[in-house]
Symmetry: C2
Subunit: 132 residues, 2 copies
DNA sequence: GATGGGGCTTCCCACGATGGGAAGGTCAAG
DNA sequence: CTTGACCTTCCCATCGTGGGAAGCCCCATC
C-alpha cells in the first residue's frame, strides 16, 4: 500500500505521515524499488492510534510515550493511566482558563449596551484594565 | 522612554513590541539620533490595551480591529460588542470541544484499573477507536 | 580619556502541527 | 507512447513567542 492509500485508510494525511516519520513517531517505512513508501496493516493500525490520540489532544511527544506503552506487552495499566490523568489535568486547566476569560468577556458584553452611542465598557476595560 | 522601559511599564516584552510594530499593530516608533525607538505615555497606553486583549485571547488580527474602534471616536458600541460576542462564541466552542475530549478521557481513565496488569481500556480505545 | 557593562539595533532560528506548492521521477490505463 | 494521477524531496507559511549573535551606543567608573 502506498502512502496515499495509507492516508485514506488511516485518516492521517500523507503530509503528516511523512512528518511523523521525520520526528520518529513511526519508523521509516520500507520502500519500493522506485523509492515509494510501502505500508501494511500494522502501520495503518499504528497511524489510527496516532490519529485518535491527536484527536484527544495528546501531543506528539505524549503519543511517543503512549506508543511505547502500547507496544510494550509487559507494561502496567498504571503507567498508561498516569499519562491519561496528567492529560486530563492539563485539559481541566485549559478549560478553567477559558472559562475565566469567558466570564470576563460575558460580563463586559452584558454591560455594553451595544447601540449607536460610543460609550463602551469593553474598550474601557481593555484600555484601563478595570471596568470604568 | 526606550523600548526596555516601555516593555517594563506595559507588560509587553521588547521582542513583542518590535513584532507588533512589524505586523502593523502599532505604528513605527519615532527614533533617537542613534536609532533607538522612543515611546511616550500614549504608546504605553496602547501597549497595555494590546496586552490586556491578548490575555483575553484576542488574536492580533482581532486586536487590530479593536484598536481601530478604540481610536475611532465616532464608532458605535454595537460594533465593539459584536466583536466581543464573536469571540465569546469562539471561546464557548473551544470549551465545548475540550469538555467533550475531557469526558471521553475521564470515562476511559475510570475504566482503567491502573494496577500492574497490562489490560488497559485507554490503549484499547486508542487502538480500535471504540472501547473494547 | 579609556574601559566595561548593559541596552539597543537587525537578522536568523526555533517551537508544534499542519498545509501549500514546485520540480522532478513513476506507474497504470488508454 | 501519452496522459494524468501519484510519489519523492525540499522550501515556505502559519501564529505568537523566545533565544541568541554581531555590532553599535550610552553612561558611569577609574
Amino acid at each position: 500500500m502506498n502512502i496515499g492509500a495509507a492516508a485514506a485508510r488511516s485518516g492521517v494525511s500523507a503530509k503528516m505521515i511523512r512528518y511523523y516519520e521525520s520526528v520518529g513517531l513511526i519508523g521509516a517505512a520500507s520502500r519500493s524499488q522506485a523509492g515509494y513508501r510501502i505500508y501494511g496493516d500494522a502501520d495503518i493500525h499504528r497511524l489510527r492510534f496516532i490519529r485518535r490520540a491527536r484527536d484527544l489532544g495528546f501531543s506528539v511527544e505524549k503519543i511517543t510515550a503512549l506508543l511505547g506503552l502500547w507496544s510494550d506487552k509487559g507494561r502496567s495499566s498504571a503507567s498508561v493511566k498516569s499519562l491519561a490523568l496528567a492529560h486530563i489535568d492539563e485539559i481541566r486547566r485549559q478549560i478553567g482558563e477559558l472559562q475565566s476569560v469567558l466570564a470576563t468577556l460575558e460580563d463586559l458584553a452584558q454591560h455594553c449596551h451595544g447601540d449607536n452611542r460610543p460609550d463602551c465598557p469593553i474598550l474601557d476595560d481593555l484600555s484601563h484594565g478595570r471596568p470604568q
